[in-house]
């Protein structure tokens, strides 16, 4: 499962991620983007390439992997 993060110090709330995301991961609230439906992310990374302020990161959920592979 993916992990989506938005750096709110960079986010300008422009709504680009909301518009380009095919899965409805983001909402815009009080001028900031929130990945409220992170579990719906299909890792297409369209939000990252289109974000004008480079505020978004997506990675595989590390907790599951670290637990499975390294037992932590």
């Amino acid at each position: 499962m993916p992990r989506v993060t938005v750096d709110h110090e960079r986010c300008i709330g422009c709504g680009t991620c909301y518009k380009v995301c095919p899965s409805g991961v983001f909402i815009i609230r009080r001028g900031k983007a929130y990945p409220v439906n992170e579990d719906k992310c299909v890792m297409c990374r369209a939000c990252i390439t289109h974000c004008p302020v480079n505020a978004i990161t997506i990675s595989h959920r590390e907790e599951e992997l670290l637990k499975r592979l390294y037992g932590v």
Binding site: S23, V42, A46, I48, T49, T57, H60, E62, L65, R68
Partner: protein
Amino acid sequence: MVSKVYFASARFTPPSEGGRAREGSLPVKFRKALEQSPLPSIVEKGNIVAIKVHVGSMEVGGFRFIRPLFVRLLVDYVKELGGVPFVTDTWGIRHVYSGIQNGFGFDVIGAVLLPVSGIKENFLYEVELPNPYHLKKVQVGGNIYDADVLINFSHVKGHSSPGAGGAIKNLAMGCTGPRTRGEIHQLERRDSVGRAFQEGMVDAARAVLMNKRGKALHINYVMDVQPMCDCAPWSDIPIVPDIGILISEDIVAVEYASFKMIDEAPNTPGSIAEKLGVKPGENKWLKIHGKDPYIQVEAAEKVGLGTRQYEIIEVLPS
């Protein structure tokens, strides 16, 4: 029909009497393998040649990707053949900057590093795929589609979604657009063994190769075989000692041979393979990630992308 797979071993090969030691070293053998491979007949004078690699993670952390030196050797040879090479990877222009940080700048690789599909991944061609497993239409990166030749230079490593990624994944996820990648990832939810996901990857790889008949070469870099994809911002020690570089016109043969060699190799002491008690000869990635990577190979063979019948031609010092 048996496909030829040219193999340059990472293991130093002592030269014959009077020969120089460098002849037995991987970079020199890699160049020789390229010369023996079908590449000289694939690249015609003036051809624009896309070299698709993975230039590493966006955030600093991962460090086990293809060493830029090997890209340089390939670029130089393509130029000697009269081709016009460019090196490329996906995710837009930001990834180009990550790539430069990771050593894929012009000064090292000798070619420009371009995004597969434009600065914001909008330069895409839609390719219709007859009789797909899942994807009827695939977004192919514009710079890949427009290139006369595609050299699929892939780092073989583990991946939590298909178990392992190599030549097929480098095309399927690395040469396509966001919508297609999303559709493939969505297939992960269909089953727990990764079958639909891997079939989706085969659809995408087939679409990428559609206009490259006789104009594609697949190079698998089976070195630094780490548990996770190059996109992950962390690396671990490789699960097996370095194996080498495999080259073929047949994507199925080169992938199958690479996965087999990894399975047959001993575990690296202290690696995750050792920790999980993987035995030589076992399906290592199935044990590590719970996904059988051979599904993609079999699915690709089934749709005619190649054959699992391969013959290894080891490149030796002269």
